[in-house]
Amino acid sequence: MSTSTWKSGESVSEQFPAGLRVLVVDDDPTCLKIVEKMLKTCNYEVTTCNRAEKALALLQAHRNGFDIVISDVHMPDMDGFKLLERIGLEMDLPVIMMSADDGKQVVMKGVTHGACDYLIKPIRIEELKNIWQHVVRKRKNEWKELEQSTSIEDGVDRAHKQSEDADYSSSANEGGNWKSSKRRKDEEDELEERDDTSTLKKPRVVWSVELHQQFVAAVNQLGIDKAVPKKILELMNVPGLTRENVASHLQKYRLYLRRLSGVSQHQGGVSNSFMGTQDATFSPISSLTGLDLQTLAVTGQLPPQSLATLQAVGFARPSPKSGLSIPMIDQRNLFSFDNSKFKFGEGQGQQQQQQPNLGNNKQLNLLHGIPTTMEPKQLANLHQSLENISNMQVPVSQGNSILMHRGTARLPPNVGQPVTSNGLPGGLLPRNGHAENGRGAGGYTNPVPQTTSSAALTFPLNHGTELPGTNSFPPLGSPPGIQSLTHKGQFPQDITVNSEIKGSTAGGFIPGYYVLNDLQQLRSHDWELQNVGLNFDSPQSASSLPGSLESASSSLYVQQGISRSGPLRNSSSGGSKPSFPVEGTHNQNLGSIVNSSVRIKSENVVDAGCPSTLYPEHFGQEDLMSALLKQQEGIGPGNPDFDFDGYNIDNIPV
């Protein structure tokens, strides 16, 4: 992963869009390198990343360090759409998707998930030249919404906003004066960090979960159409709450609902936001959290910093799909802007519970980030510890924050069940669905270290620091030994380290990519284990099966691309006449291939069931989700119109 210099806060100014800070995420090293070069040619500051998790960590560690993100759709460790969501929620950065897939559905998915653009590979430099427009547009929209939402508030805030708007509109018009708007944001971010409620002229209303629930109950009672702030206020009967508070909160709420219905119309289910790939009977509940944050983020109400801290430890108990249950967040951060950020309430509530529950992910409500046993007092108490933690998350060293995030990220979303129930690191199996093994380990890592790191990663809870695997992925082209052997017109002998490499590949592959750990997954692990075992742990037996095919291919294509095989020497040294010994070897093996294919065909039925294990993340989460929903369905007041069951769950003591 190559990096460019960090310029936190201070970004482009007069020379905009030159210097635009772009983060590119793609597991395809070829494409990554090309896009990087293209962006550099456009005078952008480029940082590349070949893993979604890494990208997230980077973004979290360098708030305000990036202006825009470009991400591939198909990535082994995390679906590109998921990453898109996370970034939108946590950092509220514009994200461009790219893929070799130009199918209408996929592109549509990009749109509905909030991507600001979708590029089809091969990417041309012309397409990259104008990506700065997305940055400008997003900022502009954010401020607009913010402006609208605060129109009801009292003069103080209004004046406050107006000056900000003025700042921003000028920058938008000029298209170049980032400094002023950015500085403003930075100032505000700073404000959030300090305990500065006293410096604010108006006491902010804390829309806690309880309060919000009361609000929603009141709204539901009145009927969403008839719900006017005054009546809601009366129904809520909360001392100290003003009509303005309720009014602005209501506006947010309406926006949120609109967004919910808009998305579901398009995609036939909010679930898509999170499922990434397959959409199933997905209950709206789980989508809520993500959307909440997204709404928040998109409407610019959530300062990137707080969002970031919000998500920092989010993985501890991410809702299975989006991993968005808001973890610890500095409460102050949430309310530093204005009281219109009603979503913070729930977020706060969510975060509150996150911490104490880190160790025992038993509460299912975590899925929605809904606090279970949190009492207001407890909230206050947690505040302190949260502060500490969130402070920790903004450390100087990237490593720390990454570890911190990673450590919690490692927590299985469903419930503190160690992934090792099947004896294999969770991340290995599902991820193996792709050619990840070959790619991940082959080009970039050495066999040896990977195996050890894989073992270490099986206990995320306890080994937050055990992330060497992920971090140890050397940057592109780093294994000089390997690289130098290839394509230099020389063809060293075969390095038939098939078995070792394979075995280590399995290990090396693991680092960090199992965000998907839930029951279903674990179950499916067992099944897949067998396959995996075939493929990786016992290369010998694997080769005996489709053995012929494999050995043929392995002789032609050195494992992990370490060297060229013998027969290929001819073709390359001379250069003029490529010989294709391939055919010969393949023909010999055709017979066995046919045999194995016959076998395979007869087992197609089983095979059909297999795919589900490939992306257990999605399926498993779905199942878990629906299971949870069933649990909770009976409890809520059941007002399907709003899809807000999550907030009406009674098991939350108020």
Binding site: K33, H74, G433, Q483, H487, G489, G575, N604
Partner: protein, 152 residues
Amino acid sequence: MDVGQMQKRLLDYMNSLLKEGILDSQFAQLQQLQDESNPDFVAEVVNLFFTDSENLINDLSNALGQQNVDFKKVDSCVHQLKGSSASIGAQRLKNTCISFRKFCDEQNLQACLMCLQEMQQEYLLLRSKLDVLLQVEKQIVAAGGSIPIMEF
């Protein structure tokens, strides 16, 4: 052979590759990206591509050789390869990927295997051609000349 001649030969060679469909205009984009700050860019990308593709093709054969073929995984590999082939302008290889994916969707194992074979052939062909190309470019540069860029 002087530099001029080498350059001419290189251009002819590149044009022939174009005609054969082995490479397409995307490759020219790559060449245009190469500059003084990054004089080996094309070679680096190509090498990267080779390493990566070999791994992918390996994984593909493994996946197709399983008793229970995981077509999702196969499709995923092919998709990856399609992306990288497209990125460097390896047109024929990319096209093979496209057909391959269709067969994956149909879960037609036999067709997939045939595609795999074709893919391996295309890959080898591409590799040998690019190796030649890169070598000639190297020679030109060594002789003090500059690499001519294909015009499309």
